[in-house]
C-alpha cells in the first residue's frame, strides 16, 4: 500500500466525498463523523508523505501504469508534501469549526468540503499541466459551492464576481496550456521542461506569451494585483469556516507559480523564458503588498480587512519567491505557511467576534462590548501580532527570513521598503480594528447574549497554537524549506524522476 | 454507374435542402415560410441518405442504417413544426405578453 501513498491525498477525500453523498442528509451527525474521520486520516497521510518527501528525490506515481510523458503522473516532492500537510491541517480546523453549526445552513456541506480537498490535493500533486487545469476546476467548482453556501445575498453577489472571473481565468488557462501543447507537443511538465529548454529561437516569443498568460492565470488565483479584487468580498461574505479553508486556496496559485516557473520555465530555459517570472512577478507582488495593506487600512469591516491583509501577505510571500533563489523561495514558503495558518485563524476569529457585536457585526465602529472581550481580545491580540509580522510569532520570523533572503539582490531596497512598510500599515489597520472593537465600547449598547463554548473557540485557539508551533519550530522548518527550495531549483532531479534516464 | 447514382442523389438532396431554405428565406409570412423546411427534412435529407446508403453498400456489406435518420427525423420534425405553429398562433393572439422578447428583431 505504501507504494500508493502518493495518490491517497486525492483518493481519500474523493471516496469520502462520494460516500457522503450516499449518506442521507438527515443524519448530519453521521456526515460530520465521516467527514472528520476523512480529514483526520488525510492529515495522517499528509504527515506520512511529509516524512517520505524528505527521503531522497521526488516520488513519481504513474497513473494507469502508463509511462511518462504519455500518462498522467503525480509527483511528490518536498513542496507538494508541504502543501498537502498544510491543506490537511487547515481543513481539519475549518471542519471542526463548521461542525459547530455552520454546516447546517444548507445541504451537502460535507461532500462539497471533501471534494474541495480533492481539487486542492490533486493540484498540489499532479505533474501534468492539463491535469492541473482539471484539478483547478474541481477546486474552483467546489469553492463556488462553498462560497455561496447558505445563499445569502452578499454571498451570491460575491459568488457572481468570483465565478465569472475564474471562468474567464479558466479560459485563459486553456489558451495557455493549448499553446504550450501546440509548441512543445506535450503536457507533462517534466517533459515540457525538456522541450522548452531545447526550443528554437523563433519559437521563444510564442512560448513566452503562453508562459505569461499562464502566469496571469496563477496570479488571478493567487489574488495578486491587479487581479485580487474578487477576494475581499468573497472572503468577507463566505462563512467563517469556508473563509478559513479558502486561506489555502490562494496558495494554490502561489504553488503553481513556484512549480511551473522553477520546473518548466526555470534556469534551463531560454533566458527570455527563464527570467520572465521574476521580471513580471516582482513588481506585481510589490504592488500587491502595497495595495493589500492600504486596503486593510482603508476598509471599514473586519472581515474585509482580513481579506486585504491576506492579499498583502500574498505579495509578501511572492516577492522573495519571485527572485527564484533558494533563500527567497524558502523564506517565501515559510511566510506562505505562516500566512495560511494565521489568516485561517483570523477569519474564524473575526466571525466569532462579529457575532458578539449584535447589529454592528464586523463594522469597525463603536459598538456594544464584545461579550467575551477577554478571551476574544487576547486571541485577537495574538493573531494581530502574528499577521502584522511583529514578534514573537511566525510573521516576524517570516519577514526576517524574507528580508535576509533578498538582501544580496538588487531588488533589496524595494522589497525591504515594502515589507517593512507593510508591517507599519498592518499595525495601523489592526490596532484601529482592535481598539474599535475591544476598547471603544458604547456603554448604552447592550452586549449580545451570544457566548461561545470552549469547543467553539477551539479551532481558532488551535490554529494560533499552530502559529506558535511554527515559530518555535522555525529552525527545523526552515531546514526543510531550504531543502525544498534546493530541490525546486535543481529541476533536473524532478525531470529524471518523472521521465527516467539521463537529463 | 453506382457513382452516378450517388452523385445524383447527393445533388438532389442538396438541391432540396437549398430550395427549402430558399423558401424559408423568401416566402412572405411565417406560416408559408414554415413549409420550406419540410422539404429539407424530407427529400433533402432523404436523398442524401440514399446517396449514403448506396455509397456504403458498395463493397462488402450493405449500409441500411441511413433508414434510422429518416425514421427519427420523420418522428420529430412534425413536432417541431407543430409547436412552432402553436407558438406563432399564440404570439399573434396576444402580442406583448410572452411574445415580448419574441417579437424583437
Amino acid at each position: 500500500m505504501s507504494g500508493h501513498l502518493t495518490i491517497l491525498p486525492v483518493l481519500l477525500p474523493f471516496a469520502t466525498g462520494v460516500l457522503l453523498l450516499l449518506v442521507p442528509g438527515r443524519s448530519l451527525r453521521l456526515q460530520r463523523a465521516i467527514g472528520l474521520a476523512g480529514v483526520l486520516l488525510l492529515l495522517g497521510v499528509a504527515a506520512a508523505l511529509l516524512a517520505v518527501s524528505t527521503q531522497g528525490g521526488p516520488r513519481v506515481y504513474h497513473l494507469g501504469g502508463w509511462p511518462a510523458p504519455f500518462g498522467i503522473v503525480l509527483v511528490l516532492d518536498r513542496l507538494s508534501a508541504l502543501m498537502l500537510a498544510l491543506t490537511a491541517a487547515i481543513a481539519l480546523f475549518s471542519l471542526l469549526q463548521a461542525v459547530q453549526g455552520q454546516d447546517r445552513s444548507g445541504p451537502l456541506y460535507h461532500p462539497l468540503f471533501q471534494l474541495q480537498l480533492v481539487g486542492l490535493n490533486g493540484a498540489f500533486l499532479t505533474g501534468d499541466l492539463f491535469n492541473l487545469f482539471v484539478f483547478f476546476e474541481i477546486l474552483l467548482i467546489a469553492s463556488y459551492c462553498l462560497l455561496v453556501y447558505g445563499s445569502t445575498a452578499p454571498r451570491l453577489r460575491a459568488g457572481v464576481h468570483y465565478v465569472v472571473l475564474n471562468l474567464a481565468g479558466s479560459s485563459l488557462f486553456l489558451i495557455a496550456v493549448g499553446t504550450l501543447y501546440g509548441m512543445t507537443g506535450t503536457l507533462n511538465m517534466a517533459d515540457m521542461a525538456r522541450k522548452v529548454a531545447a526550443v528554437p529561437a523563433a519559437d521563444v516569443p510564442l512560448l513566452h506569451a503562453a508562459a505569461l498568460l499562464l502566469l496571469m492565470v496563477f496570479a488571478l488565483k493567487a489574488a495578486v494585483a491587479p487581479l485580487y479584487f474578487w477576494l475581499p468580498s468573497a472572503y468577507a461574505a463566505a462563512s467563517a469556516p469556508v473563509a478559513a479553508l479558502f486561506a489555502i486556496m490562494t496558495k494554490v496559485g502561489v504553488y503553481a507559480i513556484v512549480r511551473v516557473y522553477t520546473l518548466v520555465f526555470g534556469a534551463a530555459a531560454d533566458p527570455a523564458l527563464g527570467g520572465l517570472a521574476t521580471r513580471w512577478l516582482l513588481p506585481i507582488s510589490l504592488i500587491t503588498i502595497l495595495l493589500g495593506m492600504l486596503g486593510a487600512v482603508g476598509v471599514r469591516e473586519l472581515r474585509r480587512m482580513q481579506g486585504y491583509l491576506l492579499i498583502g501577505s500574498i505579495g509578501i510571500m511572492l516577492a522573495p519567491i519571485a527572485l527564484f533563489s533558494a533563500g527567497g523561495i524558502s523564506a517565501g514558503l515559510y511566510y506562505l505557511v505562516h500566512s495560511t495558518i494565521v489568516m485561517a485563524a483570523m477569519f474564524l476569529l473575526s466571525d466569532l467576534i462579529a457575532k458578539q457585536r449584535g447589529g454592528k457585526d464586523d463594522l469597525l465602529v463603536q459598538g456594544p462590548a464584545v461579550t467575551q472581550a477577554g478571551a476574544l481580545g487576547l486571541l485577537f491580540f495574538v493573531g494581530a501580532i502574528a499577521v502584522a509580522g511583529l514578534p514573537p510569532f511566525s510573521g516576524f520570523v517570516g519577514k526576517a527570513l524574507i528580508l535576509s533572503a533578498v538582501r544580496p539582490t538588487g531588488w533589496m531596497p524595494w522589497i525591504w521598503s515594502l515589507v517593512l512598510v507593510s508591517g507599519l500599515l498592518a499595525i495601523a489597520a489592526l490596532s484601529r480594528a482592535g481598539i474599535r472593537i475591544f476598547w471603544d465600547v458604547d456603554a448604552d449598547d447592550a452586549p449580545v447574549a451570544v457566548r461561545w463554548r470552549l469547543l467553539e473557540l477551539g479551532p481558532t485557539v488551535a490554529l494560533l497554537a499552530l502559529v506558535l508551533g511554527i515559530t518555535v519550530l522555525a529552525g527545523p522548518i526552515t531546514l526543510f524549506l531550504d531543502a525544498a527550495a534546493e530541490q525546486l531549483l535543481v529541476p533536473g532531479e524532478y525531470v529524471r524522476a518523472v521521465l527516467g534516464g539521463a537529463p | 454507374m453506382i457513382e452516378m447514382i450517388v452523385g445524383f442523389f447527393m445533388i438532389a438532396g442538396a438541391a432540396f435542402a437549398l430550395i427549402g431554405s430558399i423558401g424559408l428565406a423568401r416566402l412572405p409570412d411565417f406560416f408559408s415560410r414554415l413549409h420550406g423546411p419540410t422539404k429539407s427534412t424530407t427529400l433533402g435529407v432523404g436523398s442524401m441518405l440514399i446517396a449514403s446508403a448506396v455509397h456504403f453498400s458498395t463493397g462488402p456489406g450493405t449500409s441500411l442504417h441511413e433508414v434510422l435518420v429518416t425514421a427519427f427525423l420523420f418522428m420529430t420534425a412534425p413536432v417541431s413544426a407543430h409547436l412552432l405553429c402553436k407558438a406563432a398562433l399564440h404570439l399573434r393572439v396576444d402580442r406583448g405578453a410572452a411574445g415580448g422578447a419574441g417579437s424583437a428583431g
Binding site: - | 435542402a17 431554405s21 435518420v69 409547436l83
Partner: protein, 89 residues
Amino acid sequence: MIELASRVAFGMMALALLLNLWRLLRGPGAVDRVVALDTMYVNTIALLVLLGVWRGSPLYFEAGLVIAMLGFVGTVALCRFLLRGRIVE
C-alpha cells in the same frame, strides 16, 4: 464523378445554411428565428451525411442521427418558452 457532385452539393448546402442564418438574423419574429435554427439543424444532417460520403467515412453518421433524434428538443423548448413562458412545469 462523386468528387464533382459533392463539390456542387457542398456549394448548395453552404448556400442553404447561409440562407438559414440570414433568416435567423432577419427574424422578424422569434418563431421565424426558431424555424431558421431548426432548419439549420436539419440541413446539418444532410451536410454531415454528405461529408461522410465524400470522405468515405461512416464515422460522422451518428452525429446526424443524434440531430435527427434529438435536434428538435431545442426547438420544442424554445417554442414552449414562447408559449408558456417556461419549459418545464
